[in-house]
Symmetry: C2
Subunit: 384 residues, 2 copies
DNA sequence: TTGAAAGCGCTAACAC
DNA sequence: GTGTTAGCGCTTTCAA
């Protein structure tokens, strides 16, 4: 509020706004018009952010009016609104989203916890999440557990401290205790699981075709004439290990092939274990004639190792895997895989989370299936 | 504040805290001790976050005291402190970091703008950034420009609205106007450039050995006996295109080889352009006997295409590239590359940004070099 | 050692 | 149509 230079009474602003960097005032008492320099209190241009208070002072209106103008409320005169919006634009005004969400107790931010950004599958998922989040006007905070349970717990703690409005989680392979997650879920934090799912909490989950994909891959091998199919699975606690193994067994049984325990090995996805498994299998009286590696990298490693050993692929040994990275196409022979569409997984997971956040969907357990697709390449084509 | 059931006077709490879910009170007026149920106002267990106010009410102390206790301030009695901390733990108290930073005008969050998460280089950078940010107690907000200038501008706008305390940027390949960045820089927003650097603004920058790497790769080719070395560069506006090309030219000149314009092609990193370039070169009266593709994917694509064309690598055609993805090792023949250590780039960029944020470092221009390393593989070994 | 109160940026309920 | 004010969670004077 300015003081009239003529009658020394508080005045009101003319709606027309500014003239050559000055604000026009009008004193009601003495009907006097006058202008005034912008009264920028702080050192000019050195603050990163303009606030509605700054704008209010410059325009000589209340912050409420500025708020109304900037939010395009109806109860404001078009003149004032336009003048304020114009000034806001000039000043590069940027609303503080956190202050905005502060009252409603929301941050318009979601948290994502994944084992490792560098794995192409998760990079793809993230990309999908980002896209959907952007569409919904949400920002994304990403944490990596690096496959450590402890880091995962710390990450979730951190995201919680950031007051994220929801959580997307794929657990580390170490994670076997879920009380933290359960706790949050029961408190009502919107949450969706994907990929490395946790069955102990009834969150909505994004399911991939782990069983179906494994089934299709193994069936394909059988149709190609492979008879002794081995599986290189991951840690037995991991659900994807279990599901893919079930698909594998189911396909064998369906086609009347024996399920042999010596053909089923559980490891930690490491290269060492993959190669050791190949060695072990080669020592058997009846070595397998095909290998299904549930982790694509292991499949690639096995192809390379087999070539070193002089084992012909796909003639002597067929190889299939999960996950279609660029690698699968490049390696020779090219790898037959079941592709999971990571970007799609991310998109679906994020969509579901936003449905829960906006109460369009309850946070009850519900599995949403993201379909995959088998991509047949040379590594499993015995017949051709 | 509770009221004494005996004398109806406001009372104070006994520091000892809770007994079987109840709080013990003590009335100073009548020296009467009594307990009371926790008076949770909202529906029990349904709020995600406990606040200091909740704790203050339960303990019967002021929020200031709670704040002091939880921040381990000195001016508080150990008894009160311990009791409060214990209760906070029980209630899974999580401070609202945004409320905390609100006053100081900081969010303990940094923003990262990159072209594409799915590119292994950027995934690596992100991983490095994350790690350093965690160490500094900062969170990271990631945006993808998808190589679009418009998206990049929107992303930065969004990060700004999130009031990030600093910005790490690698520009899209479309970006040629930097007024937005310049503006922010001049306003004093801490900012560091990496990889796709912008020279028009005097921010600190993370430089990679683009010139040096190119020089080493080309010199290596020359030493292997290749004479007609071509370069497949990216968009000419991109600094990495320019720098790597300079290194290429410099190596040729140093070794007295002619610099021929027909051997230098600028494209958009697409596969189509890469293959078309190979075709064009093959039509020359004197086709190149080695190709330096500044983008690793192009190098891989060229290897594959050459094999299709029946060109022998490395005998007839040597190939080298930038960036050591797993792919480079897997493809046959394995690709000679200059490795950039993306994780390291991320770590250094983040460290520098935090130095600027904490005023340990001015936000003046300064180039920090992250060293790379040449990794020689079969694709360029003519002599062996 | 503790409490009361102001204030960070913004919205919304209420007053005029 | 516009201003005043309370309050979101928290820290930080200032008083007591």
């Amino acid at each position: 509020m300015e003081t009239c230079p003529k009658c020394a009474t508080p005045t009101s602003v003319i709606r027309a706004g500014m003239i050559r960097g000055k604000v026009r005032f009008h004193c009601k008492s003495c009907d006097y018009h006058f202008t005034q320099e912008h009264s920028v209190k702080t050192s000019p241009q050195k603050q990163v952010h303009t606030t509605i208070k700054d704008i209010a002072q410059l325009m000589g209106v209340s912050i409420a009016t500025v708020s109304r103008a900037l939010n395009n409320k109806t109860d404001i005169s078009p003149k004032t609104r336009d003048a304020i919006q114009k000034l806001a634009l000039e000043l590069d005004y940027n609303p503080n989203l956190f202050a905005k969400g502060f009252q409603r107790g929301e941050t318009k931010t979601i948290g994502v916890v994944i084992p490792n950004i560098k794995r192409p599958f998760f990079a793809g998922v993230l990309s999908g999440i980002q896209e959907v989040a952007n569409e919904h006007g949400y920002r994304v905070m990403i944490c990596q557990s690096n496959e450590s349970y402890e880091t995962e717990v710390t990450n979730i703690q951190g995201l919680l401290a950031s007051h994220v409005d929801g959580l997307l989680i794929s657990h580390s392979k170490e994670t076997t205790r879920f009380n933290q997650i359960k706790n949050l879920f029961e408190k009502g934090l919107p949450m969706v699981h994907f990929d490395r799912i946790c069955t102990e909490v009834e969150t909505p989950k994004i399911r991939q075709e782990d069983f179906e994909g494994a089934y299709q891959l193994v069936e394909h091998l059988i149709q190609q004439g492979y008879q002794r199919i081995a599986i290189l699975a991951g840690p037995p606690e991991l659900l994807i290990s279990q599901k893919r193994k079930e698909g594998y067994i189911s396909a064998l049984e369906k086609h009347g092939l024996p399920v042999k325990s010596e053909y089923m090995l559980h490891g930690d996805f490491s290269k060492e274990f993959a190669l050791a498994s190949v060695d072990a299998w080669q020592q058997l009286p009846e070595p397998p004639d095909a290998i299904f590696a549930i982790h694509y990298l292991n499949a690639v490693e096995i192809i390379q190792y087999s070539k070193e050993l002089g084992i012909e692929i796909p003639k002597q040994l067929g190889i299939v895997g999960f996950g279609d990275e660029y690698l699968a196409e490049i390696i020779e022979p090219a790898l037959t895989v079941f592709h999971l569409f990571p970007q799609k997984v991310g998109e679906v997971a994020a969509s579901l989370l936003f449905d829960v956040i906006s109460n369009k969907h309850s946070n009850q357990q519900e599995d949403v299936l993201v379909q995959g697709q088998i991509i047949i390449r040379k590594s499993s084509l015995k017949k051709v």
